[in-house]
């Protein structure tokens, strides 16, 4: 049973002026939620003007474009306790680090979604496999620069 009240979460994702790399759009994908697209623009920095935000029936989806050298403003409600990812959906971009994880309503996670027994079992099996097949070789399945995602 949820004890916390869902809160609106507002994020700006701003692409820095790129010095030695490509200014490309990134399809930003959220796990665990749809989000609302409040604003997005290419080749500019978010002005901080909240009157720009489209709050009346904005597009609701789970993947939206962060335009090249620009920004994306999104909002969602914290109504789904868990550990979730937000990442660029281009596979080699998330592999190269373009992701975050967010822990939502941490105090409720253990009791939500039927508990974490399945996770514990999965971790146990993974550790056995890793010790047996990976650890003896080079200690990790990841190569340098691979985020693991």
């Amino acid at each position: 049973m949820s004890t916390d009240v869902p809160q609106w979460q507002y994020w700006i994702i701003q692409q820095d002026a790129v010095v030695d790399g490509p200014a490309v759009p990134h399809p930003i994908h959220l796990h665990g939620h749809d989000f609302y697209v409040l604003d997005q623009a290419a080749n500019t920095v978010w002005s901080g003007d909240i009157s720009r935000l489209k709050t009346d029936n904005p597009i609701r989806r789970d993947t939206a474009t962060l335009p090249a050298a620009g920004y994306l403003v999104l909002a969602f409600e914290s109504d789904n306790a868990g550990v979730w990812l937000m990442h660029c959906h281009v596979p080699f971009h998330v592999s190269a680090g373009l992701g975050v994880q967010f822990i939502e309503r941490m105090d409720e996670i253990k009791e939500s979604n039927g508990g974490l027994a399945g996770v514990e079992e999965g971790c146990k099996n993974w550790k056995t496999w890793e010790r047996e097949f990976v650890g003896a070789r080079n200690g990790s399945v990841l190569i340098e620069g691979d985020s693991g995602l």
Binding site: I12, P27, T55, L66
Partner: protein
Amino acid sequence: MSLQAHEYAPSINLPCHLTLTHPPAGQRYDIIIHANATTSNYWLRVGTGGGTCDGPNANAANIRSIFRYAGAASGEPNSTAAAPLPTGCYDEAVTPHVKTSVPQKIPEEMKVGFTNTAGSGNLVQWLVNGSPMLIDLAYPTLQHIIDGNDTFESRRNVFKLGEKDQVRVVHHPWA
């Protein structure tokens, strides 16, 4: 074709003969195809954004499948593209069918950066708030939760949100 929904959120219908531009990776659309053309075989073409989305694609002109009407002869279609395939990488302007209003508040900011000098050699990395995400496969985040351990290395790119009495996103990863 007409568009019905985007990532399962019902949309107000767009007109027939819609040409989807290049949907970015990960986006999904529910569409209805109006099979009202002459019985034949037709190409369904997919553009890759003209190299502006996730890099050039040497085989861009050949990403196709075939729509075959019942009763049409076998063999490849000879239909031609009505217009050059769209380039660019944009979201479709869709309007949700179920209306929602979002409170207007000041967002928190995270910055996406890029470097090709991280680590050794010419390693290419994308950064969020200066940090390329790197997970620890031996100690998953949910294992932290099970253990009651809320200390994370900064390169895990962990944010914490929605706790009691906490309105704003904590947008700096923990050290």
